[in-house]
């Protein structure tokens, strides 16, 4: 498919731990169109971060290992190209911002130095050019007196400001794809609103595609065009954003949406709760990984792991049950 900017197929990643091999990602396939914002939703340990880290080959190996899969980006398979080549993709064409802005900035280097580095490395700017560009970028993400602040160290910035610096750095080489891994989770709600607003504005100005990883179904609703829901290393539901919230089909998605208290709650109702807890997969599951917690589960769920199948245009779920009728699909 030529219109896909990033095309990931059958990705599998495992981690060797003292307790055995953990199957973190178990055959994930998705595409990203140009200029599209894709939300990836799931709880901790569902494999959402590992999927994206695998695509950029940021998984530490050992213990991590990409067992299978392809990730096509401009005709080349990111999982096959040389280490040298992937370095030119990372930070330049695909860049990533992380959850905790304090641990992803180097505390002993100035912000200016850290911002210049990719510009010199990837674009080949001189130090002076890079300095000027870094100041422009900081201005673009709304940092006051950007020029003077280039000489400051990360600890002199607040959490929200650090995340702005991270965004400026990620955008410095005008990437085609920005992967944002829970960039607002560590921030307060008013600062979170500032950051999502900033990202929306920059997306419209620069036209890059965004993959937004989060556990917060609220943020995705206002930001993404298409959403992927992950559970136990699988994509279990995929749909355009309005379709997903209006017609969630997979029992897990239904459960997640039902368990969220809403700030615009009309009347007090008891929250729907999904009993049990997310699995740690020491074996690649042969049955549906959600079956032990699923109240719709039928006999067949314990026999075979469902594949992603279309239930409506652009709407795919991995489930044996039609949650609308409670009967097998």
């Amino acid at each position: 498919m030529p219109d896909l900017l990033l095309d990931v197929q059958g990705l599998e990643t495992t981690f060797k731990t003292p307790d055995g091999v953990v199957h973190a990602v178990n055959g994930v396939s998705f595409g990203l169109k140009e200029g599209e914002t894709l939300g990836v939703v799931g709880e901790s340990g569902c494999g959402k971060t590992v999927t994206m880290m695998s695509v950029l080959r940021l998984i530490q190996s050992p213990p991590g290992k990409i067992v299978a899969g392809k990730a096509f980006f401009f005709g080349q398979d990111l999982l096959q190209i040389s280490n040298e080549d992937i370095r030119h993709v990372r930070g330049a064409q695909i860049s990533m911002i992380f959850q905790d802005p304090m641990t992803s900035l180097n505390p002993v280097l100035t912000i200016g130095y850290q911002m210049e580095e990719p510009l010199i490395l990837h674009i080949g700017m001189s130090q002076k050019q890079a300095r000027t560009r870094a100041a422009e970028l900081l201005g673009m993400v709304g940092l006051p007196n950007a020029k003077e602040r280039l000489n400051d160290y990360p600890h002199q910035f607040s959490g929200g400001m650090r995340q702005r610096v991270m965004i400026a750095m990620a955008l410095s080489c005008s990437p085609q794809i920005l992967i944002a891994d829970e960039p607002t989770t560590a921030l307060d709600v008013t600062i979170q609103a500032q950051i999502t607003d900033l990202v929306k504005r920059l997306r419209d100005e620069l036209g890059m595609a965004i993959i937004w990883i989060t556990h917060d179904l609220g943020i995705v609703a206002g930001l993404a065009q298409r959403v992927i829901v992950m559970y136990g290393g699988y994509i279990i539901e995929e749909a355009p954003v309005r379709e997903l919230y209006a017609n969630p089909r997979h029992p897990y998605t239904l459960g997640l949406l039902g368990s969220l208290p809403r700030v615009d709650e009309k009347e007090h109702t008891r929250l729907f709760s999904i009993e049990g807890q997310p699995p740690v997969l020491y074996q690649k599951p042969e049955v549906c990984p959600f079956a032990p917690r699923c109240k719709w589960a039928i006999e067949h769920c314990w026999k075979e792991n469902p594949m992603l199948e279309s239930v409506a245009p652009e709407h795919r779920i991995a489930c044996w049950v039609d949650t609308k009728t409670g009967r097998a699909l």
């Binding site: 609220g218 949406l257 368990s259 809403r262």
Partner: protein, 331 residues
């Protein structure tokens, strides 16, 4: 404040400043104004939600009420007794009635103690039961929080986050308290687990007629669980009213901005909303702004806001606001 008998806890002008010492001789050079004059009441059997961003003093307020800190000034009247004046053994006995559930279920359970030791410890400390009774009571408590009593001899690391938080709840219930401070009890948990714990807390409240001070930064959760809500900003309460009042017709510009910043899990509703995005960060509590603490980020601030501290006024019945210009939002 109609019915005085109905009030379980009354906090009056509570101030908690933490001194900052510097230099060789450790001279006090300043203070962190964590809580800067906070007053509220909690009625029997209700849940008061205390909501605000990090560093606004909500946790300090909760801890000071339990006298985990010695307040700089103010009164904490619990069931007719001023806790600030209590000393030693009197306070120790009083603590049986006031308990706390902590935010981090990984840090708040001693990893070297078994679950039955953790839950039974309060019973030993207060010498209220013999060994056999303690064992029975622990098993009963585990059943109450919906954990298998057979787990009593396991260690905390064998449990998931949600289960650990249940253990923390069981420990808080051990001495049959009447008042529990829940300090962000669900923010360290996964979304699907959060609902389990919220439902449990609601069930227990009904079952044992508990009164909660529910501290959280998540406005959606606070709306769900609270009867009344107090919104804190930089050591002061900006607005306090019944839940529906606060969420449907907020009068303080900070509450309004805070509510508009919360994402709604519904793309259609979310697109319809008008958002107010606050500029800048929360100022440092070491040196809070003069007058109204919120004025540096307030969209409607005027001259008077830097000169005069706004009074905490009752603008509608039982709806209190600390803002000079809140009258324009009434109706």
């Amino acid at each position: 404040m109609a019915d005085e008998n109905n009030v379980l806890l009354r906090v009056e002008n509570l101030v908690m400043h933490f001194p900052i010492y510097r230099g060789v001789i450790g001279r006090q050079v300043g203070a962190v104004h964590a809580v800067d004059g906070v007053s509220f009441t909690v009625k029997r059997g209700e849940t008061l939600g205390l909501v605000g961003e990090s560093g606004c003093g909500k946790t300090t307020t909760g801890r000071t009420i339990l006298r985990l800190y010695k307040p700089t000034a103010g009164n904490i009247v619990f069931d007719g007794v001023d806790l600030v004046k209590l000393k030693g053994e009197e306070m120790r006995q009083m603590r049986r009635k006031l308990q706390m559930i902590f935010q981090d279920p990984y840090a708040s359970l001693n990893p070297r103690m078994t679950i039955s030791d953790i839950i039974g410890e309060p019973l030993i400390v207060y010498n209220v039961a013999n060994a056999k009774e303690i064992q029975e009571r622990v098993e009963h408590l585990l059943e109450i929080v919906k954990l298998n009593p057979a787990f009593a001899n396991r260690y905390p690391h064998e449990f998931s986050g949600g289960q650990r938080q249940r253990i923390g709840v069981a420990r808080a219930l051990a001495l049959q308290p009447s008042f529990i401070v829940c300090d962000e009890p669900i923010s360290a948990l996964d979304v699907s687990i959060q609902a389990q714990v919220i439902n449990l807390l609601e069930d227990l409240q009904k079952q044992f007629n508990l009164t909660y001070l529910f501290i959280a930064h998540d406005l959606s959760v606070v709306r769900h669980i609270s009867d009344r809500v107090a919104v804190m900003y930089l050591g002061v309460i900006a607005e306090m009213a019944s839940r529906d009042e606060v969420y449907k017709s907020p009068l303080h510009p900070y509450t309004q901005a805070l509510l508009s910043a919360v994402p709604i899990p519904d793309p259609v509703e979310d697109a319809k909303r008008k958002r107010t995005i606050l500029e800048g960060d929360v100022p440092s509590p070491v040196n809070p702004p003069s007058g109204c603490h919120f004025r540096t980020r307030c969209p409607i601030a005027k001259q008077i806001c830097s000169e005069q501290k706004p009074e905490f006024r009752e603008l509608r019945p039982d709806h209190f606001v600390a803002c000079h210009f809140a009258d324009q939002f009434v109706n």
